[in-house]
């Protein structure tokens, strides 16, 4: 019997030096669902994502306690951390186009994984750019530098890049802050399709986005999980927690 939960986080505590940015967090992230994480600034949302793909280790002064398992496997015991990161797509809040052409940006991860066949790469690039709603805008200038695209286009380029290695888990960290509403809606539609294939963890500042997309929603405040529940319950008139109620109604603070 397949475990329903793709990612299980148990008693995760993350410290940066003396400040504790995540307090004893335990979460179950279900398979093939969109798991939305909301919460005010500086509440540890990004840290949570970074500890899942272990890029947190690259930051000096951070220490991690607790367990994270993906498909029942403890990630800190995975010897080949690069293999782990290739299974997880990550989109950062600020667009970071690598200083390569548009094509190479998307083909970067598959190439690193050893794919050399031109035809396969072409297919991957086109599919990913289409999924990120960028193909029509850049199909004539795939050879241009990715860093010369506009901010919103670069952000979609990073989404395409995150999809390029066919991740099993896609982490989106406030992906929509640099994109106009129309494009955001198009990408949101894509995300809904994508959850057939992968598990999506969506960190967002936009409460309404979590409401539109999330199957489950988790509210984090000051490094602690306040409430996790289905999105209907979280956004209902009676979520069962006063803080959640205040936050989703915008009267928080």
């Amino acid at each position: 019997m397949v475990n329903e939960n793709r990612v299980e986080i148990r008693n995760l505590t993350v410290r940066y030096g003396k400040t504790i940015s995540l307090h004893d967090v335990s979460l179950d992230i279900p398979r093939n669902k969109i798991f939305a994480i909301i919460g005010p600034a500086n509440s540890g949302k990004t840290t949570l994502l970074k500890s899942i793909n272990r890029t947190l280790e690259l930051e000096s002064g951070s220490s991690v306690q607790g367990n994270i398992t993906i498909d029942g496997r403890e990630i800190h015991e995975i010897w080949n951390v690069y293999e782990l990161r290739r299974r997880i797509g990550m989109v950062f809040p600020l667009p970071v186009g690598l200083p390569l052409s548009v094509y190479d940006n998307v083909a970067y991860a598959p190439r690193m994984a050893g794919e050399r066949r031109r035809k396969v790469l072409d297919e991957i690039v086109e599919r990913c750019l289409r999924q990120a709603a960028l193909w029509d805008e850049v199909k004539d200038r795939l050879k241009n530098l990715g860093t010369m695209l506009s901010g919103g286009q670069q952000q979609r380029l990073t989404i395409a890049r995150a999809l390029s290695h066919s991740p099993e888990i896609l982490c989106l960290d406030e992906f929509s802050i640099a994109i106009d509403p129309v494009t955001t809606m198009r990408i949101e539609d894509v995300l809904v399709q994508l959850k057939e294939e992968m598990t999506i963890i969506l960190v967002t500042n936009l409460v309404q986005q979590a409401r539109r997309l999330g199957d489950m929603t988790c509210f984090i405040n000051k490094g602690r999980v306040v409430q996790v529940d289905t999105t209907e319950v979280m956004f209902s008139d009676n979520p069962g927690n006063q803080l959640t109620y205040d936050y989703v109604r915008g009267v928080f603070g």
């Binding site: 890029t55 690069y82 290739r86 600020l94 690598l98 690193m112 990073t158 290695h165």
Partner: protein, 331 residues
């Protein structure tokens, strides 16, 4: 409504004076800064002017492009037949620079990448201090090392008749240009935005893949500038080269197989100037306005100075164009 008149009191006059003094100070400082900025231009032009003035009579009277640049015969002190061909000297400078860059570029780029990306903080600090010490060693000490350490080593290892040759000087000059290349290359690698590295790591790139595919392309302007500065250092180096090359007029290139014979002694442009300037008299023109034959030696050394000037100018221009070319490709 009457405008209130300011009374002329001592306090008011003092205030008014103070204002003007402050304004004058302001102008004075702005002028001073302006002067400092302009002075560097003036210095460069005046250096060029004086070097050119000393070399000009030679250029006017006996300069012949073919004999000067394409003849390897350098006999400026011959009694009967003075010949001024700098081809051998150019070849000497070229050969030393080639060897120096072959030594310096891989070493210093490797060091820069290691310092910037791979090592721990403590190692990093230690490495930086060591590299800075390398930069502080005077060039005559480097020449001494070339003379006493690498010279016998080269004889032992290669069986060359003499260890003072292009290879020796190249190694010494290469090591001398390592610190300058390392510090600029490291700066440009560190200037690569952290976001690039983070993004590449999140895509599952290993450390080396990140360096090779992301950091080096992003830093290539700075790396190119670093290497060209190293070339400039190698071309301009004098003392160490004088001591380590063997100082014999010789072209180390020919049609035979290795084409470049690094184990032959050479002589560079800079070393020629420093070695011969002391014995070349500066003579004035005679009554009829023509110079005595002995005066030419002094003048031709200044012409070599002009040639060095032109070489550095060309290197800088190439660097400039290359950097600009890379920039334009982005658009």
């Amino acid at each position: 409504m009457a405008i209130p008149q300011k009374k002329i009191t001592a306090a008011n006059i003092f205030q008014w004076l103070w204002k003007w003094i402050r304004q004058l100070c302001e102008w004075f400082i702005v002028g001073l800064i302006y002067l400092c900025g302009v002075s560097s231009i003036i210095f460069v032009f005046s250096i060029f002017y004086f070097v050119f003035r000393e070399g000009a009579p030679f250029l006017r009277d006996c300069f012949d492009f073919k004999n000067f640049f394409l003849s390897p015969e350098w006999y400026p002190t011959s009694i009967s037949n003075k010949r001024y061909g700098i081809l051998a000297l150019l070849a000497g400078t070229g050969s030393v620079t080639i060897v120096a860059m072959l030594v310096a570029v891989p070493f210093s780029l490797g060091t820069a990448i290691f310092i910037a990306e791979f090592c721990k903080k403590k190692t990093k600090e230690a490495m930086k201090i060591v590299v800075e010490i390398l930069a502080a060693i005077p060039s005559v000490v480097w020449g001494f090392i070339g003379l006493m350490v690498t010279n016998p080593l080269i004889v032992k290892l290669t069986g060359a008749p003499i260890g003072l040759n292009a290879l020796n000087a190249g190694i010494i000059v290469g090591l001398m240009s390592v610190p300058i290349i390392v510090s600029i290359a490291e700066d440009s690698i560190r200037a690569v935005p952290d976001g690039y590295i983070e993004a590449a790591e999140a895509l599952g790139a290993t450390r080396w893949q990140t360096v090779y595919r992301v950091i080096l392309p992003a830093a290539k302007n700075g790396l190119l500038a670093a290497v060209l500065l190293g070339v400039g250092r190698a071309v301009g180096e004098t003392m160490a080269v004088l001591m380590a090359t063997g100082h014999s007029v010789n072209i180390p290139f020919n049609g035979e197989f290795p084409y470049f014979h690094a184990l032959e002694s050479v002589r560079t442009l800079t070393a020629t100037i420093v070695a011969e300037m002391g014995e070349a008299p500066r003579l004035d023109a005679g009554m009829n306005g023509s110079f005595p034959a002995e005066a030419r030696h002094y003048q031709v050394l200044f012409v070599i100075g002009i040639v060095l000037f032109v070489i550095t100018f060309v290197i800088n221009t190439i660097a400039d164009l290359a950097v600009k070319g890379i920039r334009q490709k982005k658009v």
